[in-house]
């Protein structure tokens, strides 16, 4: 019953026009930034319940974070199951793969309803943060 999504509109960052991520199949193969992501920073974002929010739904191999959700698949081994490009698309806009997904689009503001003023027009993560998270998730191989 959900409407088909309009053509994907990717968020742009504070006036600086972002190159639109190019989707190839089920992946965004090309990194969104020139500088590569940093896994340690990505881990911190994943662990942070107010930034990445990941642990609200996903269990992850971050033992110092005791209370992790069980609503979504474990992130353990996700780097072995998915390529960085596949991870990137799932972060940027998981709806591209499953319109009913629970997972928020971390770098798309398309089709959102009733967003609070403070978050209007802003993606959940910045491109650098997306790349950091992709870099971290890619290290989760067991």
């Amino acid at each position: 019953m959900r409407r088909a999504l309009p053509a994907l509109v990717f968020a742009s960052v504070a006036g600086l026009a972002q190159a639109e991520p190019v989707v190839v199949g089920d992946a965004i193969p090309a990194p969104l930034t020139a500088a590569p992501g940093e896994p340690a920073r990505g881990r911190a974002i994943v662990a942070d319940r107010t930034r990445g929010l990941c642990l609200l739904c996903h269990p992850a191999p971050i033992p110092e974070e005791r209370f992790q959700g069980n609503l979504a698949p474990s992130l353990a081994g996700v780097g072995a199951r998915l390529t960085p490009g596949q991870l990137r698309l799932r972060l940027v806009d998981s709806r591209r793969l499953n319109p009913e997904t629970l997972m928020p689009a971390y770098f798309s503001t398309a089709g959102l309803v009733g967003v609070a003023d403070a978050w209007q027009g802003r993606p959940i993560l910045r491109v650098e943060e997306i790349e950091d998270v992709v870099a971290y998730l890619a290290t989760l191989r067991d």
Partner: protein, 242 residues
């Protein structure tokens, strides 16, 4: 049909309904929290009920409403209001009654006296099943649309968490079905008694959505739908929740 037979049906019906019917958030709390709610001498929400009782007497409400006659009222709200041609909730009715009949200045919805009056009135219906007003079908339909609409930066609907994923764990917290049968209730997170509107605001803020304005048609529609889907659950006011 013999009375025996008729009675024989009821437990079976209750069992069937119980299995498939709505589940109060009470049932998924720890035994300690359940005990806190059950014990009138220890339930912190009872302080507001007491305050409401005193206000009810002091403001002259008792001149028209015998406390005994309030039994069952909260179980029927939100109700259809002919003048508005739509739903009115208990807080709205109390506000209207105070202002129009008793000529008192308005009380903000979230003010302590309003919460106290509301908890006193709702407490009179404790244990009675929610019986939705049949005239609110239209509002409930709109409420259900809102319940199923994804919203906010996190793009989540009420239904995704409180229907599909109820019983799961969001971080460390159990996701309840989200029924309104205990309000106003004492929430440990608030360390105070608060309204259903306050709780909804919390959910909306949580998904980074603009909250519905309390008392607005949209908020009343959602409230009407929530009470409709909780039909049969007993009023627990003042409930205790984590």
């Amino acid at each position: 049909m013999s009375p025996w037979r008729r009675q024989g049906w009821l437990p079976l019906l209750a069992l069937l309904l119980g299995a498939a019917g709505p589940r109060s958030g009470f049932e998924t709390m720890t035994p300690e929290l359940q005990a806190m709610q059950r014990d009138d001498a220890g339930n912190p929400g009872m302080l507001s009920v007491l305050e409401g009782e005193a206000l009810f007497a002091r403001e002259g409400c008792a001149a028209c409403h015998a406390a005994a006659a309030l039994r069952g009222v909260a179980a029927r709200y939100p109700a259809h209001d002919a003048a508005r041609g739509g739903p009115i909730d208990l807080a709205g009715r109390i506000a209207e009654c105070r202002e129009q009949r008793a000529g008192r200045p308005p009380l903000p919805r979230e003010s302590q006296p309003m919460l106290a009056l509301q908890s006193f009135v709702a407490h009179q219906s404790r244990g009675l099943p929610i019986t939705p007003d049949p005239r609110l079908a239209e509002a409930r339909a709109e409420g259900e649309r809102l319940f199923r609409e994804r919203r906010g930066q996190l793009n989540l609907s009420c239904a995704q968490c409180h229907e599909t994923l109820a019983g799961g764990r969001l971080a460390g917290a159990n996701i309840p079905e989200g029924h309104p049968n205990g309000y106003p209730l004492y929430r440990l997170e608030w360390q105070a008694l608060g309204s259903l509107q306050r709780r909804l605001r919390g959910c909306f803020t949580g998904v980074r959505a603009e909250p519905l304005a309390p008392g607005s048609p949209a908020a009343l529609a959602l409230e009407a739908y929530l009470f409709g889907r909780a039909a049969g659950l007993p009023i627990e006011t003042p409930a205790v929740r984590p």
